[in-house]
């Protein structure tokens, strides 16, 4: 058991910022639940300062990633060029506490899809 102080962000408070960031990315267009977008993240972060995530959306033009529970939800945007073999990328991100990581993809036909995955950031410290 550790005693490190963690910030458990009030999830509701930042929701607007995340919605705003999505709206900016989509230009206000409708966003469908993902059918061709996969967001992979660990169920539990080993370290909230470096959480591996992967986005994969075959044919997508670009994918934005947001951390809905961070004070500033912006994380990054992946734009794929003609020599991307698939529209997939992984990176490592900072999460201020347990929250939903959100990805929105702009698909080849100009529509948008959204996927999210909860990542738990825990104090940890007990085991069998």
């Amino acid at each position: 058991l550790g005693t490190a102080a963690l910030v458990f962000g009030p999830r509701i408070a930042w929701a607007t910022a995340t919605d705003d960031a999505i709206a900016e990315f989509t230009g206000g267009a409708d966003v469908a639940e993902a059918t061709g977008l996969t967001l992979t993240a660990p169920e539990i972060a080993e370290n909230g300062n470096t959480v591996p995530i992967e986005v994969d959306a075959p044919g997508a033009e670009s994918i934005i990633v947001l951390a809905s529970g961070n004070p500033n939800p912006d994380v990054g945007t992946f734009a794929f060029g003609p020599l991307a073999a698939s529209q997939m990328a992984s990176t490592r991100i900072r999460l201020a506490g347990t929250q939903d990581v959100v990805a929105v993809a702009k698909m080849a036909d100009g529509t948008f899809q959204r996927a999210s995955q909860e990542v738990k950031v825990t104090i940890g410290g007990c085991g069998g």
Partner: protein, 542 residues
Amino acid sequence: GNWSRLAAQQSLTQEGLIGESGSGNVTLIHITDIHAQTQPIWFREPSINLGVGQAEGQPPHLTGKAFRQLYGIDDGSALDYALTYEDFTALAREYGRMGGLDRIATVVKAIRAQSPEAILLDGGDTWQGSLPAHRTQGADMVHLFNALGAEAMTSHWEFTLGIERVTEIIESELQMPFLGANIFDAMWDEPAYEAMTSFERGGTKIAVIGQAFPYLPIANPSWMFPDLSFGVRQERMASVVQEARDGGAEVVVVLSHNGFDVDRKMAADVPGIDVILTGHTHDALPEPVQIGETFLIASGSHGKFVSRVDLDVRDGRMQGLEHRLIPIFSDVIAPDPEMTALVEETRAPFKEELTEEIGKTDSLLYRRGNFNGTWDDLICDALLEQRDAEIALSPGFRWGASLLPGDPITREDIFNATAMSYPAAYRNEMSGEMLKIVLEDVADNLFNPDPYYQQGGDMVRVGGLGYRIDIMQKQGDRISDMVLLASGEAIDPSRNYVIAGWASVNEGTEGPPIWNVVEAHIRDRGTVSVAENTTVALKSEN
């Protein structure tokens, strides 16, 4: 009295416990979570072991009478003593201690006499948990499991020896593959250890895949192995299983340290696994649990049991499975003299230290249970008094042998409940708000309905503090009615409390090792008694 003990034991024989040869053509022997216990011990199974979500009310989340009813175990029988908790003290006096690596060696040799090509597999948590293992940094257990003839292992507490020592052991001491399909290099995200090993026995190709404890960097200090990343990594498991099949494996065995509920989910979600030899959660089940076409075997902990699994593999696939959970009754199974000698050799340098009697106990001392155990109550008392604290916290470990009322407490016994590599008994201040966050956090790691969010320990033990828990709620809403026992007052979120605890995962934690704190407390008391713990109230009905 002695007559009843004899009567009980006479119904047990070594041959009877080991049993006949199975009918298959591939034999596996599974030992897991021995936690460096080379000697016969007492070990009381949990009285409370709650399952949530799909695991609710399912094995292994059954205890006592419910467990006996499911498996048809008679009250007062040897298996009642070995597998459940009621009447533990009385049954322990009848049936005697369990475990002992020399008894295990006898069983392993007997199985090999029947099935010379049997494969012995070790599920991990092998190198930690005793004074000799602590002093030799696992060298004793590595040596002994080499001698026992284990042919592959996976890991958890092994990594708390620190990455340099683990690497040294793997490179120059360990005579078996150290498997972990889910252990990755943190920088480049590439496999850091062998994922599997293959055997060809009796013309059958067997793949054994190792799966280390997924939450090592969270449950244990990640600074001790900073460049490694773990996790369940289900897709990785699926691809290794496929690789094994593509390589011609007719049967795929996962030697797992996931914990039972995580294995249950992995079995359902990853196709192609025939057998999962489970570990970490220390469950002992007399029958396999079948999930789809996968069989889960749970072989207990602390050397109390060895599983024998016979597989019938024909036409390139597994057609049948027989399982026998062999209880190691130390007074019934004869010690193997070679192993006795080897074990004694590893203990000899510490003999005096180990056997020194520190005090006595009036109470049954045990650890297992979701919320508290008397050993931890004693440790919390020691922390409160020796470290002059208002509240004590003791981690919800599942390892640690038991002691019977009237037993002397030796230094070995104290180490059996505390030996590990980050033992500093810290003392610091924590706000009431933070205390609540800690309890909620640990509770969610135990009672999250999704097994992949569970870490498989038990609830952090508390001293000087009472609370109510409703496990069915969400994180943040499970814990209520927190009370400082000394004053009877509600915990004030804004006030700071003096907390003492041990096993902090933070680097640089300061304080005396916990075994010194516990020893000083027992010496002060002479004889310790631990009253029934009524400070944690459980609300399990919705």
